[in-house]
């Protein structure tokens, strides 16, 4: 009866969310401040109830209770335990439950942590969070109850999709969810600020910290997802501008903008309206991601629930939450904006311009993602918007942003003069141009990429050198994250512009040449696995390099998966996949991806930078309040 207990916990959480949303308003209405005291308890209680519901679902999966419908549909006794547990969120109902549980968890933590905020603001934030929770929980309960029973209980489950059995895929959705849901806290703060019409000093600090937490998880989640696609899909790529990928990228870009914009508000005020708008948009993109994925409106390899009724519900929810917040912004947003206290030519000015560039780039990604929908409604025809579109639009927009990122931090906040900036800009620009010239042989894109990466690295190092005596942990965090961006650009540029590819149908003993290196198909043989038969090839290359790509044929359900073999060194990857083959030969496809491992290293740097900046905040907050 654990599933029923989980269902009960879900309903309880919905009731508590309602209390949380209504208590501050009721307290005001009946002039009974005591009622407002319930808000925090309701938030904490809701978080506990949702944790119980999630635990109940995970339990049902762990013990393979096939009388629960989603377990029957998505699990199997032959699955290893890790994938049984991961299957709990590998489908529509479970992923939504996890999403809602995280939302509640963030609400509960907000109630516990942000005690330092002025009481009115804290209550308003919690009320907004309660309202959002109410909507999501109602959606779960009414259209997607994960605790539905089947009678009679089937003997065995149906979910044994080998493609989805990968450790990366088990961990990456929860991380991404923590990130996308984390943006909801900034959203609640933004709506609460509009509601009260005031932004206090604690507000910006809290928003920055919460956004930073969400940003770290989004970064990690996106990086893991890309690494999974790179290793598992066997196409040698790591980013496909798939709608689902875009739906994670958009909150990331917005959170990045918010992180930088709120810094200005924290420091000297000004552009409060912009910060609030960014926070509202950030959560909007999170919800949009849920909408794009869950309703199956867009053709996508990841969309696993094509259910129009759910789509209508999500759309209505989306319209209420996001439309309501934007309407509030339209009516009251102008009240928040203080006077802009900095000159356009200053660090703050550069920061603001960069946030604008980020948001415009996000808008372009959004446009590309929904354009197929638009074209269909307008009767233009069936269109897919792929990498060529995004490469031609997003990259030119992000290039000036990266250039500004190299020089901007060297500018003075408030006001600066071009003359003073001449020397640092000359150094940064010089390093960038040198790197570009050195890599010009590989073409214009390579020169641009390496030039920008070197410029950002040079600018960051220069900044660290200048502030070596007064370095705050926050400054250090920023520098580490910015270095991460430089490393990422180098990795992306190397992995795409310097890449090479070769494909041939080889007999055993045959060779192909990849980037001047010769690789030999030494052997192809059948290897039995636990529930599949693998065709495993051994490919040997120069320097004793041996790669063993496989294709695996599973029997139930009959399905074939490709296991790429990747040999990584700090200088780059050698990547091999095989197609149809037998003992006498196979189709061998190989890529060389110079510098690509830097991309994974860069995500670690960025998360580390975020972490350093985050933990720097806590002592500082205490000092100011004293």
């Amino acid at each position: 009866m654990i599933a029923e207990a989980g269902h009960f916990a879900l309903i309880l959480a919905a009731v508590l969310a309602l209390v949380q949303a209504a208590a501050p308003g009721l307290a005001h209405l009946f002039r009974r401040p005591g009622i407002a005291g319930l808000t925090g308890f309701a938030a904490a209680g809701q978080a506990v109830a949702m944790a119980c519901a999630m635990a109940a679902l995970i339990h049902a999966f762990a013990v393979s209770d096939f009388s629960v419908r989603v377990v029957f549909e998505n699990s199997h006794t032959a699955k290893p335990m890790l994938y049984k547990v991961a299957a709990a969120w590998g489908h529509h109902e479970g992923s939504l439950l996890l999403w809602a549980a995280l939302l509640s968890a963030f609400g509960g933590v907000t109630a516990l942590w942000n005690q330092g905020l002025p009481g009115g603001m804290r209550l308003r934030v919690l009320a907004v969070q309660g309202l959002v929770s109410c909507g999501v929980l109602a959606f779960l309960e009414l259209t997607s109850n994960p605790f539905d029973r089947l009678s009679p209980a089937p003997f065995e489950g149906r979910g044994l999709n080998p493609l989805l059995q990968d450790p990366g895929l088990a961990v990456h959705p929860p991380l991404l969810y923590v990130g996308t849901v984390g943006v909801s806290v900034a959203f609640a703060f933004a709506v609460a600020a509009l509601w009260s019409g005031r932004i206090g000093p604690g507000w910006a600090r809290a928003v920055r910290a919460w956004t930073l937490i969400a940003w770290i998880f989004l970064t990690a989640g996106i990086a893991l997802g890309s690494a999974w696609a790179y290793a598992e899909l066997g196409w040698g790529g790591w980013w496909f501008w798939d709608p689902v990928e875009n739906s994670a990228l958009m909150p990331w870009l917005t959170a990045t903008a918010l992180l930088h914009a709120v810094r200005g508000v924290e420091r000297r005020g000004g552009a409060e309206g912009w910060v609030v708008l960014l926070a509202i948009l950030g959560f909007g993109f999170s919800l949009l991601g849920m909408f794009l994925v869950r309703s199956g409106v867009l053709t996508s390899v990841h969309a696993f629930a094509a259910d129009p009724l759910r789509g209508v519900f999500i759309l209505a929810l989306f319209g209420l939450i996001e439309g309501g917040a934007l309407a509030l912004f339209a009516v009251r947003g102008h009240r928040l904006s203080g006077r802009i206290a900095f000159a356009p030519f200053s660090r703050d000015g550069a920061l603001l311009l960069n946030t604008v560039l980020l948001i415009v780039a996000t808008g372009v990604v959004l446009f590309g993602t929904v354009y197929p929908l638009l074209a269909e409604v307008l009767g233009i025809g069936r269109i897919s918007v792929g990498a060529p579109f995004f490469d031609a639009t997003v990259l030119p927009l992000l290039s000036p942003l990266i250039a500004l990122m190299a020089i901007g931090p060297l500018m003075r906040p408030g006001r600066d003069s071009p003359r003073r900036l001449l020397r640092p800009a000359g150094i940064v620009g010089g390093v960038g141009l040198l790197a570009a010239a050195a890599s010009a042989a590989w073409g214009g894109w390579a020169a641009a990429g390496f030039g920008l990466a070197a410029a950002v690295a040079a600018g960051t190092v220069l900044l660290l050198w200048r502030s070596r005596r007064s370095l705050t942990r926050r400054g250090l965090g920023m520098a580490v994250a910015h270095l991460g961006v430089a490393v990422a650009i180098a990795g992306m540029t190397g992995g795409s512009q310097l890449a090479d590819e070769a494909i041939a149908r080889l007999p055993v003993g045959g060779s192909l040449v990849l980037g001047g290196r010769s690789f030999t198909l030494a052997e192809v043989r059948a290897v039995p696995g636990p529930n599949y038969i693998a065709t495993r090839a051994r490919v040997t290359g120069p320097g004793g390099l041996a790669l063993t790509p496989e294709t695996r044929r599973y029997e139930n359900p009959p399905q074939t998966t490709t296991e790429a073999a990747i040999a990584s060194t700090p200088l780059g990857d050698t990547y091999a996949v095989i197609g149809e083959g037998g003992p006498d030969g196979a189709v061998l496809r190989m890529f060389s991806k110079p510098l690509l491992p830097w991309l994974w290293a860069s995500s670690v740097l960025m998360c580390m930078g975020g972490g350093i900046a985050l933990f720097a905040r806590l002592p500082r907050l205490r000092r100011r309040e004293r």
Binding site: L281, F291, V297, G323, F329, G333
Partner: protein, 171 residues
């Protein structure tokens, strides 16, 4: 009042309208690529005795084709229903990716509800039919067209709510 502040809401409402318009025309659930089509040509050796299982074997009366295998756990769960269904309509089995000896032992243990069982050891038939996994069942009209496809086990509910009404409609 600041007019600029209304812009985000304006853009949002337009986007929402577009998404809503798209949702306004919901798609019917996608049927099998084969539903309504004639059975593809196949010829499977019979599990018992001489002769072969072909589309002609099924012609003249409605029939159910059930893809199963002794290795398939869900088929065990599904199995009892065929004895029941067999009273209303001819049920033919296709033993997929299975050794005939194992299939025979499996049927001997659980009872054989099939009018005839074809052996699809090398998955030729399953590939032609686009079988996604076992069990999978098809309702075939007297003219040899695929009327309905049930991926996964046929339960009481599926039989009563999907297959039986379709069968009645044919008569």
């Amino acid at each position: 009042m600041n007019r600029n502040a209304w812009m985000p809401l304006f853009v949002f409402v337009i986007l929402l309208g577009i998404a809503g318009a798209r949702l306004g025309q919901p798609e019917p659930p996608l049927p099998s690529a084969l539903e309504g089509k004639p059975l593809p040509a196949f010829s499977l050796p019979l599990l018992a005795g001489e002769g072969r299982l072909t589309p002609d074997t099924l012609k003249g009366r409605p029939a159910i084709l059930n893809v199963f295998g002794s290795w398939c756990a869900a088929c065990v769960a599904e199995h009892p229903i065929w004895a029941e269904v067999g009273k209303r309509v001819d049920v033919y089995g296709v033993a997929w990716l299975d050794e005939p000896a194992k299939t025979r032992a499996w049927l001997a243990e659980r009872g054989n509800p099939y009018k005839a069982v074809g052996v699809d050891k090398d998955s030729r038939f399953a590939l032609d039919m686009g079988v996604a996994g076992a069990p999978e069942s098809y309702l075939i009209s007297p003219e040899g067209r695929i009327v309905a496809k049930v991926p996964g086990p046929v339960t009481e509910t599926v039989w009563k709510e999907t297959l039986l009404p379709a069968l009645e409609a044919m008569k």
